[in-house]
Amino acid sequence: MLPRTISRHDSNRSRRDPTAPLRHLDPTLLVCTLALAAIGVVAVYSATRGPGPNYVDSYLFRQFAFVVVGAGVMAVFAVVDYHKLHDWAWVFYGATTLLLFLVITPLGSQSKGAQAWFALGPFQLQPAEFAKLSLIGALAFLLSEFKGDIDLRRLVALLAIAAVPMALIMLQPDLGLVLILLTITLALLVVGGVPGKYLAVLAVVGVIGVVGVLNSPVLAKYQRDRLTAFIDPQNTSKEATYNVEQSQLAVASGKVTGHGLFQGPQTRLNYVPEQQTDFIFTAVAEQFGFLGGATVLLLYALVCYRLWRIAQIARDPFGSYVCIGVLAMFAFSVFENVGMAMGIMPVTGIPLLLLSSGGSSTITAFAAIGLVLNVHMRRFR
């Protein structure tokens, strides 16, 4: 009966073991994530059902399905020990890079001016979304190997690892995603121990290179517009102005308490273009007002706080770096997307993770949260 005894012993041990992963599930992060995804489903529906009658509900069901799938993916990414994922980091990176390459070949399909999707029946797979995770994995792997000792050669290696997916995504082109990858890389370089002087040089080069050119008074406005239009053809200047105007009107229209679900006129009458993706926050802000908008921001702030906190208490640098990478991904997504909808950030089409409609981005966001939950659960073993 030995096997039975062992078996019983095992189960008893797992129930009592204070380091058992499930005992250290982060409830705050989980609840906030699911709450945001639920709000997202409602917001997407309200933004796409149309002025009626004959309401459109296809977006509702799709987004709901994505959330369900995403939650499953999150569970998988949380349960499988992230140290195993650590070993697979390069496989993910390689696979994603291959997909990013394939998507700009005729295998990929074009939509809204960007060659960014694989058409899979009724769904579209956007590999660049997954590139966010695989870049986090690859950089976290390398940084943890370097153990904070980074010279110029290693820095160049890190930058090269980051540059490959960025360059491929630039070819689609998708400026928003490139900016996310840039932010992730920057954040990881900071926490990964890249010496201050290098960071300073990188910052100076970046500022001069991007901001300097785009905002130089030497360039006339139309030239700047042309430049940004070239980089990001989805938003020509006139349209961008209209979008931002309408989205700010939608936000303001919500006032303190909002119009109520399905009652926001700007939302109901489709005044805000691309509302279910780039401007999803306006749907929340108009229908639920400052209370609703602030609640969503607060949920994101809590998510970010937990990501930051778990990075600090992680068992090892790799786990910590993964958390910081995910934090950078979320924080930038929220700041750029919500900031754009409220007119304090330039218009670049990036999704608001968990809230915006879209399969690839939603599932990636869930996977990222799953990874962080994983790190948190295994911080004692």
Binding site: G148, V191, V256, N270, A301, S320, M342
Partner: protein, 659 residues
């Protein structure tokens, strides 16, 4: 890890993230709490459009409550311009030419350019479908709905349009309506009428407005109160739903003094007499001239109130032509109907030398200033010489007093009176009191004042236009001519009827009124003016006295004595042969006004019945010969109707006697 610990580096990340969230919260607060009121206004204007819904106009009723102008529903084909613009050019062009062809096939001849012009017309609200063809048949509507897929962006709407129960009769009185012009819109924008509840009846760029007649003069009453529909529109400018709807309310009804049956009789008489006269010839001292009889007017007034009972003019037009927008071609035809315009109401706008009908004024002036009495005689030798110039008349009447001079229309007697009043403005002053030389104030647009020249007027005219008025001095000859209603005087038929009305009532000149009262919107019909049932009456147009002519018995009696005989043994005896004057005695005067190179203007002015005057009737027929030839028969036919006497026929008359 040379310069900073991992914890410090993470803190840097944390600070940046906190900063980002702080910025987002601050911006959210700013937009939704601080800026929201201002932005809300902008957003609402952004999302809704207020569309005015035109209301049916009030109806126009005659004095017996018969509906002259009503409303009916008309079918209008509209095109949604916004949707049309989204079609490719070739499809758009094909649609327009197909529409034109279909309209033409279904009996509404339409040119492609007409549709294109409507579609390009910026006066229409961009949000609303543009009417391209009005007044289509039921068949066409059915066809369009059955072939809807062949006519994208095309719709059929209903609108309220005017319906004229008496056709062209009374057109000059009721007038017509049309789409407001940009200039008029600017002019009336700040002063719209108000309905009985005090709601302003605002105009829109495609509103209908009264353009002539009572439609124009009583626009503020007749216009309905537009409804308003606030429509929510989506980002693509498509109406989504109606936020609020206020139904339009019809305008107030207007009841006229006009008796539509009398109006029909007056117009028929005028037209038939002109037809009978046309082509005849006039022979007198001045030779033979053809009677072209192109135009004329007839007026029936109530001398006791100034109420206009009938107001006929010829040629006239059919207001139905204006209902769905008049074509340029038709409009040009109306402006040139046998050489004259059909759009002029000659009863109030036409100015004519009154000829001998003006002797009423001369006689009153002479009697009132004591120049003569009813018994003062003068020897009519057939010629009157003054300042070395001979003024002749047809025939000689010997020693006659004023009554006889009026009955036989002795020019010499009046030449003599005119010469004796030369140097005064007695005739002009008396004329002014009879209501000449100024507009009567009738409630219709475009009235002419006519003129009665004084020496000062003549000088002023000469100074202004020496070619037309070669002499600046007033000659005795001018006074002599003025005395018989020539040269220095021109009057409108309505003024003439008003003056004879004053003689009838003892000297009161009333402002003529076409409209008797304004009734509530959608009032009950069939209630005559005198009825005690006044529940629907909103406003009554009271008689207004314009002026008073001094008419003591010493003045009035000899004049009435003379004019009473005109239709018996006088100048109009032939015209009234067979008319029962014992039952319905007519007091009147013929007039024959010379027009250089043309047949004379035939004039007759009168009132009846003599003892208890109820009607003042005047008629003026251009190029129709002596007063007794054409104008007197028209008046006789009107009286036949008024007195209920047997109708007689119309014939060409050539009396061969002047006046």
């Amino acid at each position: 890890m040379d310069t900073a610990s991992p914890r410090l580096r993470m803190s840097v990340i944390g600070v940046v993230v906190v900063g980002c969230f702080a910025a987002l919260f601050a911006r959210l607060w700013y937009l939704q709490v601080m800026e929201a009121p201002q932005l809300e206004v902008q957003a609402t204007a952004n999302r809704t459009r207020t569309v005015a819904v035109e209301a049916p106009r009030g109806r126009i009723l005659d004095r017996n409550g018969k509906v002259i102008v009503d409303n009916e529903t008309s079918l209008v084909v509209t095109v949604d311009r916004n949707a049309l613009r989204k079609l490719p050019k070739d499809q758009r062009d094909a649609l327009v030419s197909k529409l034109a062809a279909t309209f033409t096939d279904f009996g509404t001849p339409t040119k492609i350019e007409t549709i294109e012009r409507r579609l390009a017309d910026q006066q229409y609200d961009d949000l609303q479908p543009v009417p391209v063809v009005n007044g289509i048949s039921q068949d066409l509507m059915v066809y369009l709905s059955e072939h809807a897929e062949e006519f994208p962006t095309v719709g059929v709407e209903r609108e309220s349009v005017r319906k004229y129960n008496y056709g062209a009769y009374g057109a000059n009185i009721v007038g017509y309506v049309g789409r407001i012009t940009k200039e008029t819109l600017e002019a009336v924008k700040d002063s719209p009428g108000v309905d009985p509840d005090g709601v302003a009846k605002e105009y829109q760029p495609d509103s209908t407005i009264g353009l002539a007649g009572v439609e124009a003069a009583y626009e503020k009453d007749l216009r309905g109160t537009p409804g308003t529909e606030v429509v929510e529109i989506d980002a693509k400018n498509r109406p989504v739903r109606t936020v609020s709807y206020q139904a339009p309310r019809p305008g107030s009804d207007v009841q006229l003094n006009i008796d539509i049956d009398l109006q029909v009789k007056a117009e028929d008489s005028l037209r038939q007499q002109l037809d009978a006269t046309r082509g005849g010839s006039q022979k007198d001292n001045y030779g033979i001239r053809v009677k072209n009889a192109p135009a004329g007017a007839a007026v029936v007034l109530d001398p006791n109130s100034g109420a206009v009972l009938a107001l006929a003019t010829y040629p006239t037009y059919d207001p139905q032509d204006f209902v769905n927008g008049i074509s340029d071609e038709r409009y040009q035809q109306l402006l040139n109907t046998n050489g004259v315009s059909a759009l002029i109401d000659r009863a109030i706008t036409g100015v004519y030398a009154p000829g001998s009908t003006f002797k009423l004024v001369t006689a009153s002036a002479a009697l009132n200033n004591g120049l003569i009495t009813g018994g003062t005689t003068y020897n009519d030798t057939g010629v009157f010489t003054v300042g070395g110039q001979d003024f002749r008349s047809t025939g000689k009447n010997g020693y006659i007093a004023l009554p006889r001079a009026l009955t036989v229309s002795s020019d010499v007697y009046f030449y003599w009176l005119g010469s004796r009043m030369d140097g005064t403005t007695d005739i002009q002053d008396t004329a002014a009191r009879f209501g000449f030389d100024s507009t009567t104030g009738i409630d219709l647009p475009n009235e002419s004042p006519g003129y009665v020249l004084t020496p000062a007027d003549k000088k002023a005219l000469h100074d202004k236009n020496p070619d037309a008025w070669p002499y600046s001095d007033w000659f005795t000859g001018d006074s002599v001519q003025l005395a018989i209603g020539q040269n220095a005087v021109a009057v409108t038929p309505i003024q003439l009827a008003g003056a004879y009305g004053a003689l009838a009532n003892g000297g009161t000149v009333y402002q003529p009124h076409v409209v008797a009262r304004v009734l509530k919107p959608s009032s009950r019909t069939g209630i005559p003016l005198g009825s005690p049932d006044t529940a629907d009456v909103l406003r009554v147009v009271d008689p207004v006295v314009r002026s008073q002519v001094d008419m003591p018995p010493g003045t009035r009696d000899p004049i009435v004595e003379g004019l009473s005989q005109v239709t018996h043994g006088g100048t109009a005896a032939l015209a009234f042969t067979g008319f029962d004057q014992r039952a319905f005695p007519v007091v009147g005067k013929t007039g024959t006004a010379q027009v250089q190179g043309k047949a004379d203007t035939s004039v007759f002015a009168s009132y009846a019945p003599a003892d208890q005057p109820q009607y003042a009737v005047a008629a003026v027929l251009e190029e129709s010969g002596f007063g007794a030839d054409a104008a007197a028969p028209v008046v006789r036919h009107v009286y036949e109707f008024l007195a209920g006497q047997a109708e007689t026929g119309f014939k060409a008359v050539e009396t061969g006697k002047q006046d």
